[in-house]
Symmetry: C2
Subunit: 175 residues, 2 copies
């Protein structure tokens, strides 16, 4: 059964006021080769690199990206970092140094053992976006003409799935 009501088992309808200043800041995935991942997320999806934070002793780097169109992104290091950790919808990529040249491969969560599934970008014109991904020779997990209507999946350089949707075509999705 479909529902509009939020009053479902488990749902707290009046959360502690303290929580209402919390921000869902980022999701983190590990990547093998930051150069390939930065190319994918900046060139193909248009994200901006907000910060790279290096930890030489532990031999890893964190890369934070977001869509920033229309936003003022601080250039000064400290302010930039506070902006990065205070805003919504950031993608964090973790690079453990050396993985770009070894034979390791990260797990995308969609084969056993399953867990994480995908990230999703909403686009204004999904036909145009998918045609663009085809031109750029981005691998598709699911094209528009297969299965669920108005939903596509491409894959990133580590084979993480990236769902592509167009919000106004999904008004009637599901039950």
């Amino acid at each position: 059964m479909s529902f509009i009501s939020e009053n479902q088992p488990g749902v707290c309808l009046a959360p502690d006021a303290e929580t209402q200043a919390y921000v869902f800041n980022h999701s983190m995935i590990r990547v093998k080769d930051p150069q390939r991942s930065l190319d994918f997320y900046t060139r193909v999806l248009g994200m901006r690199l907000l910060r790279q934070v290096d930890f030489p002793e532990a031999k890893f780097s964190l890369l934070f990206l977001a869509m920033t169109a229309g936003e003022t992104v601080p250039e000064e290091r400290g302010a930039r970092q506070v902006y990065t950790f205070g805003r919504q919808s950031v993608l964090e990529l973790t690079h453990n140094w050396g993985t770009e040249s070894d034979d390791s491969q990260y797990h995308n969560g969609n084969q056993d053992p399953r867990g994480f599934g995908h990230i999703c970008f909403s686009v204004p014109d999904i036909e145009a976006a998918c045609a663009r991904f085809e031109r750029l020779q981005i691998p598709f997990v699911k094209r528009l003409d297969k299965g669920m209507k108005h939903v596509a999946f491409i894959s990133d350089p580590d084979d993480y799935w990236v769902e592509i949707v167009q919000a106004d075509l999904l008004a009637d999705l599901g039950q």
Copy 2:
């Protein structure tokens, strides 16, 4: 070496204008028991259930949540769904029917095979937030007094890691 410059190998500094209307909409994780997960994400973290979308034939449901303080969230079904798929920083929970009563367990990505790592919430006062999580008896993966300063990790009902940060304390993080 640290850097402020975005001009790193792989980075596209002038992405296709078409991409600048893309929105990083959501991250999806599978959950075993939606009642427990909804309790955690609404009561403990203050998220709001935007939509549940059921697929009875395929026996799964999708639950979409977000922090919505200060936002006008449409009540009408179609408008609510378009809002859900058009905004930033949504968390999608996938419930494959029956998992709540079988012995399956999802993989949080932090043991082999690794991949996905965590989601992160930014809070205005991390000491207060962590004290609140202690009162609520939320399990900690890492408390503030261990390891990296100003960063905590709690775990959700499926053992996915949820990082907790306070943006203005992280201005000097890393190199």
